[in-house]
């Protein structure tokens, strides 16, 4: 019974946290630019307005289905990640499953945008898949490294092991090379500023979102709000010792997000080739050396 309630309400709770985090990011960046900034609940207004549009142009049935695949893939990832109080699916699916299903949203987006036949969208998708090759290899290497270090592929077990060691049991402390490599990869995964090539409003008109309007963009924004929390949660569970209660969890989410936003606020944008080259020059060797340290 408890599990059923969690299954129903977890996406809603995570969505609310995610929208507040996105609102917080807009406010934070506005204050760095010495602006007043929008209210923190601004993303709620945006999503409400988009879902309330009177006309919604569809470009074909694949466009409709792929948007749902995008949202569904993210929700599926959410269920397999242990959060405080809920790890029902985490005992059936370990980090290897998460590695696979993290790729579903990107695939869904590629299919949907392909249907819209907008050249800006196609460029955005090719950049997104290129960046995927950049950040996914170091990120998954850190998955493998942490699994080898702790002799478990279950994320829930990993949290327990880290919590047992206290602050000095955190993955970031026991294995700083992997922790920092994953942090840089996480920046690329979230599409924050130095690795923002996928969206790039001034170059390719927001890339994949070019042809999305009304409810389609609304669902993409809901997905983005959930995906931000999901990706930060993976990092927290692997390297920041997870969380035992929701208070600690939300504090860790906001602190980690603030670190990433501070980098986002002061950087420009890498070109696609530069971004991938950076990912393969700095985080990838770090992750490889970190894994080698664990083996030998």
């Amino acid at each position: 019974m408890n599990t059923v309630l969690w299954i129903i309400f977890l996406p809603i709770i995570i969505f609310i946290i995610g929208t507040f985090m996105l609102g917080y990011s807009r406010k934070f960046i506005a204050r760095i630019e010495r602006r007043y900034g929008p209210p923190i609940q601004q993303v709620f207004y945006d999503i409400f307005k988009l879902m309330n549009k009177k006309t919604n142009i569809s470009h074909g049935w694949m466009h409709d289905i792929a948007i749902l695949m995008l949202l569904g893939g993210t929700l599926l990832t959410l269920y397999f990640i242990p959060v405080p109080g809920f790890h029902f699916f985490a005992q059936y699916g370990d980090m290897l499953v998460i590695m696979y299903i993290l790729l579903i949203p990107a695939l869904g987006m590629a299919l949907g945008v392909g249907e819209t036949a907008n050249p800006n969208g196609s460029i955005g998708i090719s950049r997104a898949l290129m960046m995927l090759a950049g950040y996914d290899i170091p990120f998954f290497l850190t998955f493998i490294g942490m699994a080898m270090l702790n002799q478990t592929t279950s994320m829930y077990e990993l949290i327990n092991i880290q919590q047992a060691g206290g602050f000095f049991g955190w993955g970031l402390i026991t294995n700083p090379l992997l922790g920092v490599a994953a942090l840089i990869a996480l920046q690329g995964m979230l599409g924050e500023k130095p690795f923002e090539v996928m969206v790039a409003p001034h170059e390719i008109a927001t890339g994949p979102m070019t042809e999305m309007g009304g409810k389609y963009l609304g669902i993409m924004m809901i997905q983005h709000a959930i995906a931000v929390v999901v990706e930060l949660t993976i990092y927290i569970n692997l390297f920041l010792g997870g969380a035992l209660n929701w208070f600690e969890y939300i504090i860790k989410l906001f602190v980690l997000f603030t670190v990433l936003l501070s980098v986002n606020a002061v950087f420009g944008r890498f070109r696609t080739d530069d971004a991938v080259r950076f990912m393969w020059k700095i985080p990838l060797p770090m992750a490889v050396i970190g894994v080698l340290f664990i083996i030998f």
Binding site: P38, P39, Y45
Partner: protein, 191 residues
């Protein structure tokens, strides 16, 4: 008839209240006046505190801000852009050129009244209007949405023949617009 237009259900009142807090703006700046927009967006005047932020594609935008004069050639692009936007959509005419031609009254190639071709929600008079005027007009637009009176976009679906005739006269023949406005109005039940 007038009363019927202003009568709103509770849901419409709530949705107007919330929707007015988020307006995304597409700026069409082939005339002059684009220089007034950066101060409006950045630290000095900061329109994002009203929830208005610049967007880059017509599909995502709610406001179409048209700065300065439009020649026959650029008007064609404005019509194409306007038809791609998703309703509810609001056109804001910026500067005296969109109102009556302004200093280009005698020009052979510019058009004079923007609202002959697409329905305009608000005008900003002046040559040039300062960022304060832009912010003031956006606040007017927000108040208008709150009262449920910002319905000019419905006019394009209802009186399409009028706008189409004016466009065809200016362009000397029909243009290919990719959008069947009357079929859209029937499909999305706009009346």
């Amino acid at each position: 008839m007038e009363e019927k237009l202003t009568q709103r259900s509770v849901w419409e009142k709530i949705s107007n209240k919330l929707s007015k807090r988020s307006l995304w703006m597409l700026h069409y700046c082939t005339g002059c006046g684009a220089i007034e927009l950066p101060p409006t967006m950045t630290a000095r005047f900061d329109m994002e505190r009203f929830g208005i932020s610049p967007m880059v594609t017509p599909r995502q935008a709610d406001i179409l801000l048209i700065t300065g004069y439009l020649s026959v050639k650029t008007l064609k692009r404005v019509v194409l852009t306007y038809e791609q936007m998703q309703a509810p959509k609001y056109v804001v005419g910026f500067g005296s050129c969109t109102i009556n031609g302004g200093m280009y009254w005698n020009s052979y190639s510019t058009m004079k009244c923007l609202d002959q071709y697409i329905p305009v929600e608000t005008y900003i008079a002046g040559c040039m209007p300062r960022p304060e005027a832009i912010i003031a007009s956006f606040n007017d637009l927000i108040a208008k949405i709150d009262r449920g009176e910002a319905n000019s976009w419905k006019d394009y679906y209802k009186n399409y023949d009028f706008y189409k005739a004016n466009q065809d006269r200016t362009f000397e023949g029909p243009i290919e617009t990719y959008n069947d406005i009357k079929a859209d109005a029937a499909m999305f039940n706009i009346k």
